[in-house]
């Protein structure tokens, strides 16, 4: 599957498998060592309102960010359905007959202790893993054997637990790559600069700037992604995912490494995204964040769904409490994320 090893020779390869998440994370940090730059240069902040005065209007930004917000009127209908999904790795059952829905226009939280199968479920939805049995229905059709890029084109976008931006590209270019998922021109169009190509290019930049403003990094649009601060990188990932015009936005631990103030502002952003008409799936460790922002929560443990319901229902569910109390202070502490593999 994975054709290239981003960790490089020095770092070994990365794993999608949650059970190896510990070493996977260590690998990605090792890979960060190569990035030669903490930003030592003066920040070249763009005065966005000077260059793009129209973006001062938040309503216009919203319109650009979510161009088809009116289309998503059928709130509450299932958008993605996990139907008896089982994923096995050899003899190991990572997901066992998992069934739940994600409904249009909601923020669904997917939680569970480490090794519960959250990331596996996530990967099964985004086409990284194919379920051993069961189906994933999205927007009325099975994802079946769809290629990963076409799953994005069908409307599922995601961010990564270990940030995976295109580091050498600027923030703006990263987001434009996201918009490219909806573009039709290919080599011939670009070679001869057809009118559609030029229109797409222009629109892409407008929308990308709006998205950057929307997530709050518009001023750093021309900065290389790797020179952005950690928090800005996380926000940029969200902007890039939104750029693909998804029906479902999946956020994989977007608040990892954030301080409480940053978490607060992230919650606001996620709500705003939902209000713009997107459906959001949120995988998160931080119970407070999940409780504060989600409409519904699905709890996984040992690859099974043990509870499903509103935040209040779920947090009062004895099974959930047991699952979480079994792992002392799991939700808060970063150290415990490195569970023994």
């Amino acid at each position: 599957m994975s054709t290239h090893d981003p960790g490089g020779i020095g770092a070994g390869s990365e794993h999608g498998d949650e059970h190896l998440a510990a070493s996977g994370r260590a690998d990605s940090e090792a890979a960060d060592h190569y990035l030669p730059g903490a930003d030592v240069d003066e920040p070249a902040l763009i005065d966005v309102e000077e260059v793009r005065p129209e973006l001062a209007d938040p309503q216009l930004v919203d319109a650009l960010v979510a161009p088809d917000r009116a289309v998503h009127a059928r709130m509450g209908e299932p958008l993605l359905q996990m139907q008896g999904v089982t994923v096995r790795f050899g003899g190991l059952v990572a997901l066992d007959d998992v069934t739940f829905d994600i409904r249009r226009g909601e923020i669904l939280g997917l939680i569970g202790p480490n090794g519960a199968g959250k990331t596996t479920a996530f990967n099964a939805m985004t086409g990284v893993y194919r379920p051993t049995s069961g189906t994933v229905m999205f927007d009325g059709a099975s994802l079946g054997k769809a290629k990963r890029f076409s799953i994005t084109q069908r409307g599922i976008a995601r961010t990564f637990q270990n940030i995976r931006l295109f580091n050498e590209m600027t923030a703006l270019e990263n987001v434009v790559v996201g918009t490219d998922a909806r573009h039709r021109t290919s080599v011939p169009g670009a070679l001869f600069r057809t009118s559609r190509h030029r229109r797409e290019e222009r629109d892409a930049i407008d929308r990308a700037m709006a998205l950057l403003e929307f997530v709050g990094v518009g001023g750093r649009a021309t900065e290389k992604a790797r020179n952005l601060s950690y928090g800005d990188q996380r926000r940029l990932e969200i902007a890039r995912a939104l750029a693909t015009e998804p029906k479902l936005l999946c956020l994989d631990e977007p608040a990892a490494g954030f301080n409480p103030a940053e978490k607060e502002s992230l919650m606001g952003l996620i709500r705003h995204i939902r209000d713009d008409g997107y459906t959001v799936l949120l995988i998160e460790h931080d119970m407070r964040l999940v409780r504060g922002v989600t409409d519904r929560i699905v709890v996984l443990e040992f690859g099974r769904v043990i509870a499903e319901g509103t935040p209040d229902e779920v947090t009062n569910d004895p099974k959930v409490i047991a699952a979480y109390l079994g792992v002392p202070d799991a939700p808060e502490s970063e150290e415990t994320t490195d569970a023994p593999a």
Partner: protein, 431 residues
């Protein structure tokens, strides 16, 4: 939010020494491009056209130290033009898409042999001469698109199975491909003349005069300032300009962004909706056809193709041109091509350098050793090449980059000691 103070990443690099080199707009190439982008269109023309004319005139100006002694300078420049074209093509594959193609010489060979097989009297498929489709006058020009098309197809054939492989496997498969092409040329005696090669390859008959019965492009036009080498150099300049325009168009589009995304993180690119295989294949095809065009140029220029000229070591030479100049940087790789071609020829036949006696021929014969060392040293100390530049991946949005530069200059003006950027006009305002 920590937008103003750039937070340090969770783990700092072992030493900050590389950091200064790698600032967002710190590279020589980047600074040049920012300057260039900030110019108005007419000014760009005013600077660009004379520069191009100067480049075209270089072989005629007989510049003292620059002109080679042991070999004809026109011929050296013709070779440079060809290698520059190759470097641009290979740069698409290696520099932009990040696919290590070590068999690029194979495409070059296919281009050259296509022209030779279609136009050489030694070839069984010769299409020139009495009763054939092609007149000797136009044969080269007619064979050129065929050569480009056939190399493009061979790129497709090589790429479609192999581009699904892991990146490092691709390197060795392409290495094998380059070697197979040479072995085919060597062993398919009836078609390619085997080790004897094919003679009498067609070339454009232009500028026929009394003195030059076979035109300015003929190898017979060997004497004088404007010999066949210079003419071929001019032809390759035209090729280079056209190719740069097209490759530039691709780079500043969805295609170029897809390539860089693949280079940076292929899995993430795929998940962001980039059909990675399709665009890798495109990179291969485009790179191959440029290599084929260069091969056709070569066949026309020397009017003789032979397998030993397509040795795999040439692939390393091409790679060296790309790496020297800076992967991904179109203008940089042209400089790299110049160094790769010119430096050995500079030493050839030179007995003294600045009054110091040297054995130029000896030095020139070490070229592969030096280029091998250069590759290794560059990879260790300066993997971004001599003039690193970030690729420009957007057709529009120039004003954003100019605005960023303006504010950087303002910030630099506030911070004393940051003199380089403050040299621009807006530095005065705030200091």
């Amino acid at each position: 939010m920590s937008t103003t103070t750039p937070a340090t990443p969770p783990s700092l690099p072992p030493a900050g020494r590389t950091a200064t080199k790698d600032r967002p707009h710190g590279g020589v190439g980047d600074r040049f491009r920012l300057w260039w982008d900030a110019l108005a269109r007419p000014t760009q023309w005013l600077v660009g056209v004379p520069f191009l004319l100067f480049m075209a005139a270089v072989p005629l100006l007989n510049i003292p130290v620059l002109t080679t002694q042991g070999t004809d300078f026109g011929g050296v420049m013709a070779q440079f033009g060809m290698i520059a074209l190759i470097a641009i093509g290979l740069n698409v594959v290696v520099g932009q898409a990040g696919l290590l193609d070590l068999g690029y010489v194979g495409f070059y060979a296919i281009g050259a042999y296509t022209v030779a097989i279609l136009t050489s009297p030694d070839s069984p498929w010769n299409q020139t001469g009495d009763g054939m489709w092609l007149s000797r006058e136009w044969a080269w020009l007619a064979a050129l698109p065929v050569a480009v098309a056939i190399t493009a197809i061979s790129g497709l054939i090589l790429g479609s199975p192999t581009l699904r492989l892991r990146g490092d496997y691709l390197a060795i498969v392409t290495l094998g491909f380059g070697e197979i092409v040479r072995l085919l040329a060597d062993n398919l005696d009836e078609l390619t003349g085997g080790g004897q090669g094919l003679r009498g390859v067609a070339y454009p008959r232009a500028g026929v005069t009394e003195d030059l019965p076979s035109g300015v492009f003929s190898a017979g036009n060997a004497s004088g300032a404007v010999n066949s080498g210079v003419w071929w150099y001019w032809v390759s300049l035209v090729f280079i300009v056209v190719t740069l325009l097209f490759v530039g168009n691709l780079e500043r589009s969805r295609v170029g962004r897809a390539w860089v995304a693949i280079r940076e993180d292929e899995d993430a690119a795929e998940i962001m909706g980039v059909p990675t295989f399709r665009f890798k294949l495109w990179a291969f095809i485009i790179g191959a056809s440029i290599g084929g065009a260069a091969g056709a140029l070569y066949a026309g220029q020397v009017q003789f193709v032979i397998p030993t000229n397509f040795n795999i070591i040439n692939s390393v030479l091409f790679l060296c041109a790309v790496v020297l100049g800076g992967q991904g940087n179109k203008l940089g790789v042209i400089l790299g091509a110049f160094i790769v071609v010119y430096v050995p020829n500079f030493f050839l036949g030179r007995q003294t350098l600045f009054g110091i006696p040297i054995d130029g021929d000896e030095i020139a014969s070490y070229k592969y050793l030096f280029f091998g060392i250069a590759l290794v040293v560059l990879m260790i100390f300066r993997p971004q090449g001599i003039i690193p530049a970030r690729q420009k991946l957007l057709t529009y949005g120039r004003e954003l980059y100019v605005a960023a530069r303006r504010s950087a200059a303002r910030a630099a003006g506030r911070a004393p000691g940051r003199t380089e950027a403050a040299a621009t006009t807006s530095g005065k305002e705030s200091s």
